[in-house]
């Protein structure tokens, strides 16, 4: 198949950036989107130009490195899919594809399609953990956890921290990410003792990073490659308001 790619090229955060058009011929429908970019990059290098920079690593949908918006959708048109799992058979011959980086003030652009998502690490540092030192753990079966809650915690913990929620939200809000982290730990008895402290601190850090607010559009949920649900945001709101109400200092 033949394609026209319009790829966002930007040298650094300070540079202004623009779309550059590339024509691709004979793209195999069986290659992944990133492999298609690999092929394009090989051509670019042979022509003596700077290849397109993009983050990628595991290429099996779990590391959360991909950070592209394809035709307006984070990770492309398919649900529950990361860019690396997207295959070219999903596109039509002759299609024009816009490829842009995740855009948010809290995710400054490093180069081309590479963005800085360290804000997520800082949010995690603010309280996204259970305070247990190595060697302090009781036997793993000492505290039973209901299967229902364990499964719910897992559903939230499936978040791969890619930032597609931020990228797809019209407000660049990180609520889905933060709520997934908050829910994962607060749903388990191990994380419960710190649940109020945790949610208050993580939300405060989220706000500090300059993410937008939640308008409950559900765009994040639709874009999430791991299908994290809005229910987590409601839970986070609930726990935040509860924590805010009962916290003594």
């Amino acid at each position: 198949m033949n394609l026209t790619l319009k790829v966002w090229r930007q040298k650094s955060d300070k540079d202004k950036g623009r779309f550059v058009e590339y024509k691709l011929n004979d793209v195999s429908p069986d290659v992944s989107f990133l492999e298609m970019l690999d092929v394009l990059n090989q051509d670019i290098i042979h022509q003596g130009h700077d290849p397109i920079a993009f983050d990628h690593d595991c290429r099996e949908g779990i590391c959360g490195s991909c950070s592209m918006v394809i035709n307006g959708s984070a990770h492309g048109p398919d649900k529950a899919t990361t860019t690396c799992q997207l295959h070219m058979r999903r596109f039509k011959d002759g299609e024009v594809i816009h490829v842009e980086p995740f855009r948010a003030k809290a995710f400054p652009i490093h180069k081309d399609l590479m963005v800085d998502r360290s804000a997520f690490d800082r949010i995690q540092q603010a309280g996204g953990y259970v305070s247990v030192n190595t060697g302090n753990a009781p036997d793993a079966n000492a505290i039973p956890v209901s299967k229902e809650y364990s499964d719910m915690a897992f559903d939230a913990a499936a978040c791969i921290g890619c930032g597609a929620c931020v990228a797809s939200c019209k407000n660049a809000s990180a609520m889905l990410f933060v709520s997934a982290k908050v829910s994962h730990l607060s749903l388990l008895p191990q994380g419960a003792p710190e649940k109020h402290e945790r949610v208050l601190k993580m939300v405060a850090q989220m706000d500090k990073e300059g993410f937008g607010n939640c308008t409950v559009t559900g765009a994040c949920e639709a874009a999430c490659p791991k299908e994290i649900t809005l229910e987590n945001i409601a839970r986070m709101n609930r726990e935040f308001l509860g924590g805010f109400a009962v916290k003594r200092k």
Partner: protein
């Protein structure tokens, strides 16, 4: 401690909860308002008497101030949130998300529909609340003849159209806002959320159609 509490109060979650709570309060108000409006179908006396009793209720000033406060807070909070949201993404995308990854129009345009509604409310108050003061006596009680004003105003097709448009917009705003409010105050559950969404649609339809019925009825019947 005070500063910490202040920071928490300013957090996006609290602001959204305030939006949700004030929104729900206003939702209750518009439903009541709309129900009162339906008395137009019963006639001038019922319509005017209802208005008279309402405004002469001892709690009326309190309710009025409360409502004003709700609207004020909803408005200011909304402006702040929108401002923050704009700042969170300074550069938009070249293409919009399509199909299964696109968000609903209502959810994406809350700030826009809200702003138009704010303008509408001000004009609405000027037109009716502070409009020409006719009086009439029903059953020996002298009261404001709001019925006459309403009939007068809705003779103009421009007014009717503006009202229909704004109230449809209100319905649109409510359809998303009513359901989202529950989410913002922490009520979201896989078993109930779908029902709340349904309820929001039904509620928004009832409010919007109920409101719109008045100008249309007046324009078409009271020539």
């Amino acid at each position: 401690m005070a500063t910490a509490t202040l920071t928490l109060l300013r957090s996006s979650v609290v602001k959204k909860a305030i939006m949700g709570l004030t929104g729900l309060g206003l939702s209750g108000f518009v439903l009541a308002h709309m129900t009162g409006n339906l008395l137009i179908f019963k006639g001038a006396q019922a319509y005017n008497t209802y208005g008279h009793q309402l405004t002469h209720n001892p709690a009326y000033p309190l309710i009025a101030i409360g409502l004003l406060a709700l609207m004020g807070i909803h408005f200011v909070c909304g402006i702040t949130l929108t401002w923050e949201n704009k700042r969170a993404r300074t550069q938009g995308y070249a293409v919009d998300a399509a199909d299964q990854k696109a968000a609903s129009l209502a959810s994406r345009t809350m700030a826009g529909t809200g702003s138009i509604l704010a303008v509408f409310i001000v004009l609405h108050l000027i037109t009716f609340k502070y409009g020409t003061l006719y009086t009439i006596t029903h059953d020996g009680v002298e009261m404001r003849d709001l019925h006459r004003l309403v009939i007068e105003v809705f003779q103009s097709p421009v007014y009717v159209a503006w009202y229909c448009f704004s109230l449809a917009l209100l319905g649109f705003h409510l359809k998303h806002g009513f359901a989202a409010a529950f989410q913002s105050i922490g009520f979201g559950h896989p078993k109930w959320s779908a029902h709340i969404k349904c309820l929001a649609v039904v509620y928004a339809l009832i409010v919007a159609l109920g409101f719109i019925s008045q100008p249309l009825y007046v324009y078409l019947v009271h020539r």
